[in-house]
Every structure is written in C-alpha cells, then in structure tokens.
C-alpha cells in the first residue's frame, strides 16, 4: 500500500495527479473515471465572455504542441450558472482557474467565486496579458505578479494557487513575490512562448502568430522551473509541463513538486492521468516507498534539504 494523499496548503488531495487547466473538461468523464483524480482543474475562466484567438489554434512541433487558444468562454457569470452544476457531479475537489485583464477584475472575480458553492480552490492564471501594463503578463515581473495575487487574496478566503509563467527572467523572484503576497501553492508552469512557420505560405502556423509550447519538448524547461521555485519558496509546488508518464511525474516530484498536472498528454492518451497515477503507485511499490511524499524534493541539492 502506497500512501498517496497529498497536502496542498489547506487542501488535502486523495492523490497528487490532476489535469492542467485548458486541457481538460467534464467531457473526459466519457473516457475515464474522474473521481480517481486528486483534483479537477477547470479551463481558465475570465470575467467577460471571449471568442478566443484566430484559427488555426494548434500547431505541432517536434514532440511538442504550440497553442494559441486564447481562453474562449462565456464569462464568469455563465460559468457559475451553467458549468458549476455540471462540475459538482464529481467527487474530487474543484480548482477553478481564473484569469483576468486587470488587478481589479481579478479581485472582483475572486469574490464571485468565493460566493460560489463547490469551489475548492482558485488557481490564479497570471500568465495572461495585463492590460494595465501594456499587455505584458502579470507573471513576467515579481511586482505585477504580486499585485494580482494580493488582490485575489484580499477578495476571498479560498485556498489560492498561483500559476506561474516561464516567460520571465527570474522565476525564483516571481515565486517569492507570490508567496509573500499570499499564494498557498504555486503551479509551475504555464506554456512558454514559441513560434512555427509554414514555409509554403510564409505565415505563422497559428492564426495568432506566436503560441505557447507544451508537451514533452517543454518538459526539461518546466522541470527546471519547478526545481528553481522549490529552492525559493516554502509553499507547495504543483509541477506541470510535458508530463505524460509516471516517470515524468516522479522527476517533477523529485525536483520539488508536491503534486503534478497533466495537460497535452491527455490529447494523445485520454487516460494519461490514470496511467500516471497507476505508474506512480507501481514505482513506489517497486522501490519500497510507502508514501509518495517521500519523493518530493528528493533530487534537490542537499544543502536545501538539510536546512529544512
């Protein structure tokens, strides 16, 4: 028997495997049992309805995927009224990913979610453009990241996870700023900006031009970001980026993540999350590891471990 229960701040998850925002929906219940997951994470919800970006929205790269979906959706009110009842059918804690174009709108939306039954935590997706800062993502700089986090923190008492972006010079500084501003966990990381060009038409393959790179090609970068954050903060980290096997998940745990999210892999293997979960148990069993928490941070530099 391997103990899988995982504490993420105030929340205890049955196990450390969950979906990545934007790559998951209740539709997956047609393929597998969602109640086996440690948590459910919604696609990012925005205050206003949005159409999303120009098509095409996906382009394949070598072992990776570029996307520029653009967070289409019906907006927060429709989410609360229409999507929430559907989500409440499932057992695992529901984490609502929240995105907004300004600090004030982050705060307002957080207050709305706080008043919505069935929301277990907010995952603040601060990788989105900040319209008050020339469209740069909140997550690019420690100051703007902290401002968004503090606003959400002040507006609601829900467990607050913050999803960081790789598109920054110093992820450790951003991580520390988010921790100081009230984040209870960090989700590391969103996609990194990339580009692909169709050489026959000389146009970007994505309608929006640039897009976010995810999938196995991105994994070494995401793993490094987790490793850097784990050495920078004391709050739990949820690792995400290119995880498609249990071995990948073990790498993230050893790099300091307490839990993992699986995104793009579910497109290729719809049951990828359960494969990761089952494989994690098998790995622990084979290695005589009784609690998956023993893996967390196992590969971090010894100094760090000694200091804890």
């Amino acid at each position: 028997m391997v103990r899988l229960a995982t504490r993420i701040g105030r929340l205890t998850l049955a196990n450390p495997v969950m979906p990545a925002s934007g790559t998951f929906g209740p539709e997956l219940a047609e393929v597998m049992d969602l109640d086996r997951l440690g948590a459910l994470v919604t696609k990012s919800v925005t205050p206003e309805a949005r159409l999303g970006n120009a098509l095409p929205r996906l382009a394949e790269t070598e072992n990776g995927l570029l996307n520029s979906i653009g967070i289409p959706g019906k907006g927060l009110d429709a989410f609360v009224a229409q999507a929430m009842p559907e989500w409440r059918r499932f057992r695992a804690p529901l984490v609502v990913s929240l995105s907004a174009p300004s600090v004030a709108e982050f705060a307002h939306a957080a207050a709305v979610l706080a008043a919505t039954p069935g929301v277990a935590a907010i995952e603040a997706n601060i990788s989105c453009p900040n319209l008050e800062e020339d469209g740069r993502a909140f997550a690019m700089l420690p100051e703007t990241a902290a401002a968004a986090v503090a606003a959400v923190r002040a507006a609601c008492a829900l467990p607050l996870w913050v999803k960081l972006s790789p598109n920054t010079a110093d992820i450790a500084a951003v991580a520390r700023a988010c921790e100081a501003a009230g984040a209870e966990a960090l989700v590391v990381a969103n996609t990194i900006l990339g580009l692909a060009i169709d050489i026959e038409t000389a146009r970007p393959k994505l309608g929006a031009g640039m897009g976010g790179l995810s999938g196995p090609a991105f994994k070494p970068i995401a793993l490094r970001l987790v490793w850097q954050c784990a050495q920078a903060v004391g709050i739990p980290i949820i690792g995400v980026g290119g995880i498609s096997t249990a071995e990948d998940a073990v790498e993230f745990l050893m790099a300091g993540a307490s839990a993992v999210q699986v995104g793009t892999a579910s497109f290729v293997q719809p049951t990828a999350m359960l494969d990761v979960l089952d494989g994690l148990v098998a790995f622990c069993t084979r290695r005589g590891i009784g609690d998956v928490a023993q893996l967390v941070g196992a590969a971090l530099p010894r100094e760090r471990l000694a200091a804890e």
């Binding site: 934007g22 790559t23 998951f24 929906g25 539709e27 997956l28 047609e30 393929v31 597998m32 696609k43 159409l51 999303g52 098509l55 095409p56 929205r57 996906l58 394949e60 790269t61 072992n63 990776g64 995927l65 996307n67 979906i69 289409p72 999938g215 579910s266 497109f267 290729v268 293997q269 719809p270 049951t271």
Partner: protein
C-alpha cells in the same frame, strides 16, 4: 481488442489492422477489428487515430477520421486521403499491426424518421463520411464529385444510384452541379440532403435546399487537438435558430451540423 464493455461511452482501443490497401493514387483503405467500437458507432461519427507506424514514427497529435465502414462483423473501416505526416503513417500500417483508436466521437447524422429517399453530395474523400448513410434505411442517391474518373471511388461509396461529376470535364463546376441538383429536386425530390468535402458544393446545396424547403446536414472538418471537446481548437462558426453566430466544436457539437446553420469555411 475492445471486447470488454468498459462502461464508458468512449474507448481507447488498440485495434488489429485487418486490411491496409492503397486506393488509386492518393487514397488508402484501413480496416480494423473493433467489435465493441463498431457496435457503438453511428453514421457520421468519427474516431481519433494515433498515427504511428509499426516502428512508432508519426506526428505528435492524433488525427480525426470519419468512420467509413461500420461492419456488422465488428470491423471499422477508414478511407483516407494520404495528405501529410499523419495519414502517411497510417498508410504504412500493415495487417497485424495495431491501430490505436479513440472513439466513437462526435454527433453523427440525424435522418428524419420519415425519410424514404435521401441525396448525398460528396466531394473527394468526403464520401467516406457519408458512406455509412448507404444502407442506413432510406434509398440513397449520390452525387460524387472528383478531380478525374480515376479518383472517384464509387465502389468505396457503395451506392448503386449515383451521378459522377469531374473537374477534368468541367461537370463538377458549381453551376453544373446546381443544374444537376435542380433536376433531381424536381424529378425525385429527396426527403433530406447531406454533404461533405467541399465548401463550394456546400454553398450550392445550402441555397438549393433552402429554396426547395428540404432539410439537410453537413459534416464539417477542422483541425483537432483533443477530439473530446476540451481544447476549443476545432471550432467553426454556426448560426443558431435566432440568427446568432457562435463557435461550435466540430468534435463535440459536430462534426455533423444543420445544413442551414453551418457557415461557409
């Protein structure tokens, strides 16, 4: 093989390839054993195929492919235009190899319960999507459009009654097809019409069907990520009854849409 009932509507199954044959210059036929899937698949639905040859080479994402044959013997058939990296990998599969299939997916065709006679208008490999309508009940008349006689694949479509039109002799031009359709609508008015494979022919059929008051459906295509409704990569503009245009997911609300509600692509 997916013989065990999983309790889930959609399954991921490693299906043994039974047949893998080139059709003409540019097309390919794949038949796999998939009893569980075949029993659940309806005309117009599609599967999401992992395009990896026996050595594991192929593109990162799956590829959507209409179910072209739903065999009573528990087989599923796909008819593909070998176009890029994904379909090329599929065409390299050999009998005995495994094809990793996720399905059945999407919303298939809805035949009006009283339909006794239907017309289908197919361009190129679009006929694969429409083929399961043959034998689904009503009498089928087809208008098949192809580049040239060698590309027609009338045998693959399987209807005994069809008109063939070609680019090579000009008979596939929209005006010519319109004239042909008008003749049929006047003489042997169908109870419903269905199309797939060409934007231009879709527009002709949409206009004529509206004029004649014949209900119809169109099967759309769009690039897919998840195939399951989760990624919003596959949207198309669809107009609802109130005239409001919104993005609908081809993989989820489609691939089959009302002929009058779909917009040109």
């Amino acid at each position: 093989m997916d013989t065990a009932p999983s309790g889930f509507a959609v399954a991921q199954v490693a299906c043994p390839v039974l047949e893998s044959v080139a059709v003409g210059q540019r097309y390919h036929r794949l038949v796999v054993a998939a009893p569980g899937l075949a029993a659940r698949t309806r005309p117009g639905q599609f599967c999401h195929l992992l395009c990896r040859d026996a050595g594991g080479s192929g593109p990162f994402l799956r590829r959507p492919m209409s179910v072209w044959r739903i065999g009573a013997d528990g087989t599923l058939g796909f008819l593909l235009h070998v176009k890029g990296r994904g379909t090329a990998a599929l065409a390299r599969l050999r009998p005995g190899d495994a094809l990793d299939v996720v399905g059945p997916l999407g919303v298939g065709f809805a035949l009006p319960p009283t339909a006794r006679r239907i017309l289908v208008l197919a361009r190129g490999v679009g006929l694969a999507t429409l083929a399961p309508l043959v034998g689904s009940g009503p009498q089928v008349h087809a208008v098949l459009s192809a580049r040239a006689p060698g590309d027609l694949m009338a045998d693959e479509f399987g209807a005994s009654s069809y008109d063939a039109v070609f680019d090579s002799d000009g008979s596939s031009a929209p005006a010519a097809v319109e004239a042909l359709l008008r003749r049929r609508f006047e003489t042997e008015r169908p109870d419903a019409v269905f199309t797939c494979g060409s934007n231009r022919l879709f527009l002709v059929l949409q206009r004529l069907a509206a004029e004649y008051g014949i209900p119809g459906q169109v099967a759309l295509e769009q690039q897919m990520g998840c195939g399951l409704g989760m990624c919003f990569c596959c949207v198309r503009d669809i107009r609802d009854e109130a005239g409001h245009i919104s993005h609908q997911r081809v993989c989820r609300e489609g691939p089959v849409f009302d002929l009058q509600q779909a917009l040109a692509w």
